[in-house]
Amino acid sequence: MNVSIVPGLRALRPAALVGGTLFLGLLVGYWANATWYPGTSPEQPIEFSHRIHAGENEIPCMYCHTQARRSISAGVPSVSKCVGCHKEIATERPQIRKLMSYWQNEEPIPWIKVHDLPDFVHFTHKRHVSAYARAAGIECQTCHGPVETMDRIRVTSRAIDGSFQLDTPWEMGLCLNCHRQHQVEHGTDCWTCHK
């Protein structure tokens, strides 16, 4: 009689196969969901295109998101702001008609939030779009990605090397990285962002 662990291993093979397939399936399922149903670019109530507004027409971001330079939140424009222009412009397009119907019913447009940070993160737009920040080369696109090329807004973050990563939400490491690079005062103090 001889002895070896090989027969024992061989006996394990069916179980390992099933387990392995299960695990592989798990990865595939996860990947499939992440790839095809990322949920990072929801369909908005009105098909507003940043590409047309910010890209082609070169409307500055803060024309609509007026709050950004003085408030913690950038804010979404009020319906009246949209109507201000679209009373005149492209009034016949179906999406604009949709807008006008909101306006006439005095209803707000239920935009779906795309860029979102957890509630325990206190990010202020004001600090990040101040003159000082702009001087350091921080644009809206730094965090929000190439918005001017997107028809529908998509979650975008950045890799450490600075390249855009589509459908990837922001993580703490990226904030930290930027704070370190720019040597932000107390930039790595937790209470700068969490309180």
Binding site: M1, N2, V3, S4, T188
Partner: protein, 170 residues
């Protein structure tokens, strides 16, 4: 494929004696299989030296150093002052050092054991199940049938109850 002559003994002394005789007769160093560690093997088959202690020492060193580097290094990567103490505080880090020293010492000892005991056995090896119960086996490699006959006779003489001709795959 190599062949072995395996003799089974009731008494450890006989098995030891057989092994000694075999070795003296010019056979390759025989292997003893026993249900308990045998005393006196070394007198018969010569001193054994293992590398385990080196593994242990090496592991402990690695563990100790990496423990300290882990504790001290990570605390300067993201500085979190606590309790008015220095960021690199030696006394508490020595505890981490110590624990990792032990951990790595243990892990390397085990590694050393497996390597030096040639375990796990991936290849088929000659084995006598009785040797795990209450019999003592002496196995010796035999190049050919004559060799085997000689070994068998030596084993039988020493008091082997059975002598088996066994083979193991290479």
């Amino acid at each position: 494929m190599s062949n072995f002559a395996v003799g089974l003994f009731r008494e450890p002394q006989s098995a030891l004696a057989a092994a000694g005789t075999l070795k003296g007769a010019g056979f390759a160093t025989p292997e003893l299989m026993s249900p308990v560690p045998l005393e006196g093997v070394e007198e018969v088959l010569g001193e054994k030296k293992s590398v385990i202690k080196r593994f242990t020492l090496f592991g402990a060193l690695i563990g100790g150093i990496s423990g300290f580097v882990l504790a001290a290094g990570t605390s300067v990567l993201f500085v979190h002052p606590t309790g008015g103490r220095p960021i690199i505080t030696i006394p508490p880090y020595l505890i981490i050092t110590y624990e990792l020293l032990i951990l790595f010492g243990i892990l390397f000892t085990v590694l050393g054991f497996f390597i030096s005991a040639r375990l796990p056995a991936i290849r088929d090896r000659v084995y006598v199940p009785e040797a795990a119960v209450d019999q003592f086996a002496v196995s010796v490699a035999c190049d050919n049938h004559e060799h085997f006959k000689r070994a068998e006779s030596i084993l039988r003489e020493a008091g082997a109850e059975q002598v088996r001709d066994m083979a193991e795959d290479d």
